[in-house]
Symmetry: C2
Subunit: 409 residues, 2 copies
Amino acid sequence: MRQSQLFGKSTRAVSSEVKSKGLEYLIRGGFIRESSSGRFYLLPLGLRVQERICAIVEDEMNRVGAQRMLAPVLHPIELWEETNRTSSVSFELMRVRDRSERSFVLGGTAEEMLVALVRQFAISAKDLPFCLYQFSTKFRDELRARGGMLRAREFLMKDGYSFHASKEDFERFYREISESYLRIFKRLDLLARIVESDNGYMGGDYCHEFVVDHSLGESRYFVSHDETKAIHEDLVNKMGEAERSGLTERAGIEVGNIFQLGTWYSDRMKGAEFTGSDGKSHRYYMGCYGIGIGRTLSTIAELYSDDRGLRWPKGSSPFSLHLIALGQDSEVIEAADKLYRGLSEKGGSVLYDDRELSVGVKFADADLIGIHERVIVSRRLLERGVFEVVNRFTGEGREVSEGEVMSRV
Amino acid sequence: MRQSQLFGKSTRAVSSEVKSKGLEYLIRGGFIRESSSGRFYLLPLGLRVQERICAIVEDEMNRVGAQRMLAPVLHPIELWEETNRTSSVSFELMRVRDRSERSFVLGGTAEEMLVALVRQFAISAKDLPFCLYQFSTKFRDELRARGGMLRAREFLMKDGYSFHASKEDFERFYREISESYLRIFKRLDLLARIVESDNGYMGGDYCHEFVVDHSLGESRYFVSHDETKAIHEDLVNKMGEAERSGLTERAGIEVGNIFQLGTWYSDRMKGAEFTGSDGKSHRYYMGCYGIGIGRTLSTIAELYSDDRGLRWPKGSSPFSLHLIALGQDSEVIEAADKLYRGLSEKGGSVLYDDRELSVGVKFADADLIGIHERVIVSRRLLERGVFEVVNRFTGEGREVSEGEVMSRV
């Protein structure tokens, strides 16, 4: 894509309410804009990052056999009444009524919706286990929206739900999903730690958070001296004095979570059962698995930035390459145009800075946007028959041939 | 994907309220399920079809230079008050209030949201034109939900919005988008006709519907004798007796629409302007462009089915190939397994019917699901060293070598 055409120009200033570097760069770089407080537009650059994150999540979810589907945004309130979660969830539910006076919940999580779907089918033991997941907009009526996209009122979430014939089978899958989550975050260059946690509003007995250490994070947890064990502060508060000694407090951003739900939902929702090999009805054993996509995006932005702007890791960079033509003389423009055409024909994901702007402005914008790798075309380089490739993430740069540039996409 | 693992078993019966063949097959085949009336779950098969349709739409939108982004689902009601559309739109708006008593609209269309975004930027003449689009869930508070996904209360829509410095530039782009729409529907095997229409609730002077002829459609229009001109019934009713003679009435499904908006929104929304080359502020000239993704999906289902089930065209088939092993003897299973592995390694999109079921059940399910092309493995065929390929869309079948099957993905 030609940068002269890109919607969402970079800007120099943001509102003084923006307190974090990552958020400031996302706004200034033209990735996101706030609509109402806590609700964001994703501009073309921001949506590209989100799509790249989703692609990695999808790939790893499919690898453990999970199947993607999509539930409606409006959940009939009767379903939430079946489990009595209308009065027990810790986030405030948003409700809406249609012209026929039917009430709906704007989904914060979708356990009831998934059980309501699954019970439409006659499930037998040999249909189990299965895991369904979706990417869907979630709503939380936060009293105060803080931290930009780290704690938004509306955000994209990957939420998955698994159904099992036995506790043992669930536990096997829970370990698989846990490993799958670690692979996802690794591919996104996030070092996520598994923190034992409290189940809260979801029902069930235990759950684990995936937390990336960061001072902006609202998750407080404690690690053991040898760093092999991490426990959420709520659980630590229940411990005795002796057990707590030797634990160190940390702050981090919760990018994902996995929940054991047991039969909490199938106990409460009529028909949430399968026919066992004994011919009798049994309640299925469930788990649920979330990843905050918007929060993951902003965690990467907070973690990987310097005093000039963002530094996208390879897995989430909005484009693979940022092609920058320095200067306006026809030789440079021609060479850059040709390279851009060649890369595009190969299907490369390239942002081409074709704007008639000074070298200083172009570099400042490139630093701000932070595409993983950039390719520079200049008269000086052309005279020597090379291009310069600079990795924004690592800072490394070197001169390469045209063939080598082409081989990068 | 192995069919034994696929969530959403085919079923033999549907509710008597389901009146159309396409909808019946979508439900029975495990593509969709209704949640509350007019709101649907997309099961894995249905979501795959939707994703394929979106990919074609995205490809053609990008080709005309449109840029994908995403606006929040909840629109601040103040924006709709700026244009006074809260009291003028023809579909009933759904409203929701948060715990701080702020009111929002559940978006039916997003003109105000896009203008509110664009006016956050200092736009000059040389930034124009641009076109932004999104795939987003839309809400219509229909009094009665009829026709399944043909007229749903919640549905995915591709909505695009273009901004221009002049009427002439808008008209050029309007023609481009119009051609792009015809390419999209052609790739989906839909013969869409352009119908001159009334602008309705959108503001602006004129618009065009893209209509696929079908008796289930709610669009009534008239065609001239030579079929070169098609006019919406509302416009025909304004014509004189003489003009109307020679016009024939038709019914069709409106799968897309394009609207001239002119300066209707920029006249009403403060700051909806750009700096012209004369240094002065001007209002931008706008257009908007919709495609109902869910409706397009169900139109294909209604159009392409027979008495046994669905017949997906190539462009929207949930999988490219349906691999079917007939019989349970180990030779057949081994050959089918091997072919499945080979096709999967090549990145082929294959549904593999590995279930231990009778030939009759497998064929009945394959006919119902209607994947574009199927590959049959049987003892009789293996003895002659061939596979049978049958095109469900055209009905043609022939025997092919393993090499030829592999070359199809």
